[in-house]
Amino acid sequence: MEIALRRNWRLTVRSVPWGWTLAAVGLAALLAIPVVTVPVGAVLAPTGDAWTHVSRTLLPRYAGNTLFLLAVSGGLALVLGAGSAWLVAMCDFPGRRFVRWALVLPLAVPAYMAAYVYAAMFGVTGPVQRVLRAVVPGGGDAFYYWNVMRIEVVAVIFALVLFPYVYLPARALLESRAGPALEAARVLGRGHLEVFRTVGLPLARPALAAGLALVLMEVVNDYGAVRYFGVPTFTTGIFRAWFTLGDLDTAVRLAAVLMIVVLVLLLAERWQRGGARYATKGGGSRATPYPLRGVGAAGAFVFCAVPVALGFAVPVLHLAAWTLRTGPEVVDANFLRLAANSLALAALAGAAAVLVGLVLAYACRLDPTRLTRAASRVALLGYSVPGAVIAVGVLLVTLALDDVLGGGVRLVLTGTAAALVVAYVVRFLAVAYLPLDAGLDRVGRSLGEASRMLGVRPLGTLLRVELPLLRGTLVAAGTLVVIDVLKELPLTLILRPFNFDTLATRAFQLASDEQVAQSAPAALLVILSATAVVALLHRSLRRDAESEHAR
């Protein structure tokens, strides 16, 4: 009884100074403001004529198109991702090791850049239709003047560049954890496809759901591809409202509706996973693979190689061909300055994200309470929020602040690089946080505790013990953010300072102005840097997996 009563002093006495906890909570609150502002702003916004018009005539179209894209891209990505993961993890066929690695590469290609390539290739004047018309008798037939700018094509393009989000977690699960269960099923006399259906799929379901959620988030986030193909969605609606109509209220409301879509997706993923965390813990090993021969082996290879070709090789080669043609004319001092600008901005955002992520992750270590955990979860929210929505939120906040700071006349914050960097951190903090958090886990508690027992305070401990040990992780975390910022389009388009371009916005604008070949050098530069990082990341993932096995 007495113990129960005296426990109360724990509420006032803490093993950690408040500083770290307060910093974490403060940062989380700051990063949550742009996200929270959107629904609040949407409720408060006056109902103008524009919104009435949009909600009556356009909203159903936006919703219909977005849902169609979600369904088709999601379904196709699931088939490609789960199928290739199964083949790579469970079967042996010539070329398996190559596709196992190459299946990750499409992640390096932003959907809008793939969209430019495919629109050009399959367009009426593109090489494919020209060849078909020339080769097939009766080539002038209207059939061969097929309009490629269709929503179905966009959906397929999304699936081709996004399916690795499903492939990666599914493969990881099948290779490492599910081995014993799968072998048991085989010993019990089940056939290959039956094992896939009755054991593989249910086991991989949480991984598939998580990967699918990422795919769908990216679909909702896209602006460049749907815009280029003329498919009106929520994102293009937000742009139209803000840039064409100058109606921020309507933009905010559309952004809020888009947030509801995302929320539903997240809840669906949660529900799918449910209590089903039966990914068996600890080290299972890879099940003995099914050896495939002849037609089976060829089929498996084709199934895995085609998405790699269409999602990575074809866009990259095509962009490379364009670059050869237009490069000498496009790549001048201006272009180099643009590249340097982009990189500097991305590096700034990367450094900021690493710093913020480190404070949050370390505060969670020092003070492992519900408060700090909640803070980091809130701070990571932005990762599931589409870039356009975050941009609208930042816009609302900076415009309101400018009213105060500039007396309603001057724009102090709106359209500055600072606002843009904050928005990047809101959107991509999770990309830096997750590796940092895992890194701190790897270093473990006892080194930090030893340091504090020797009289060094938490900040000194972080600087002298954890940071030197995490140097590689810091660089990796920052680089991942840099790549995401380089690829980012919608948020940058809305928030960039006047007359400021990044590689991505320049590529987008040139493509929109029917100068798609001129956009290739910028696009190719972005994709190649992303490819380098994706490849390196995949290698380090494998190293982690191997060391986990060794343990």
Binding site: I3, W9, R10, E449, A450, R452
Partner: protein, 279 residues
Amino acid sequence: MIVDPAALPGPEPVLRLEGIGKRYAGAECDALRDVSLELGTDELLAVVGQSGCGKTTLLRIVAGLEVPDAGSVRIGGRVVAGDEGWTPPERRGVGMVFQDFGLFPHLRVEQNVAYGLGRLPRAQRRPRVEELLELVDLAGLGRRYPHQLSGGQQQRVALARALAPEPRLLLLDEPFSNLDRPLKAALRESLVRVLRRTAVPTLLVVHDAEDVLVLADRVAVLQGGRIVREGTPGELCRNPGDAYVERFFQRLRLPDANRLPDELPSGSLPAGEEPLGPA
């Protein structure tokens, strides 16, 4: 904050625990219940018990790495955890040797030892490090990195590092659990020698009866989060008074029942095949 010394009988102990209670969030039962202990100057107190009985929790509460739910911790008469306040680990003046040693892998041996010497003027750090390395018989190995040392050498680096800032109190968490058995006797010898020479009051946690007999002046037996027996090793051996304590020391009972284990020369004891307690 300061306790009136007149109110306490006798000299103030270096460490005084009163009514310590601790339950981890989500745990079914208390890790520690109403634990009270005292550690005098020059004393070497061993806390023994099965794994999972709360020994390490006790050590971590003294260190300031865990906050007790109830009770108070006084070091040198000052409350460092309790109703009257809280002192974070870095300001307690307590040294600790961790079970896994906790050596900083990116720092050389000498940098590890010098880590806690921040308050010492720069010029005095080097001689102090040399002095400590000599004390633990590692003179000349200062330029190595921890991974270039054997387990026993690593432990001595950890000991030198913990002793460097001249702590008021030393905590040792299972000092031998990470070392090979054949090495143990020799290492124990050198540990005893260093501890006696530096005369730092020490609280150590062990699960091996033999270690207790060789190292400790006094023993506290922790079981189910409570202290069930306390006394000198000789007393507990002669008069266990508790089934668990009896079993704990049973292995050391020699055919010659009249000879008390604490009179034996160390190293000649029959070593138990395994640490005591349920596997």
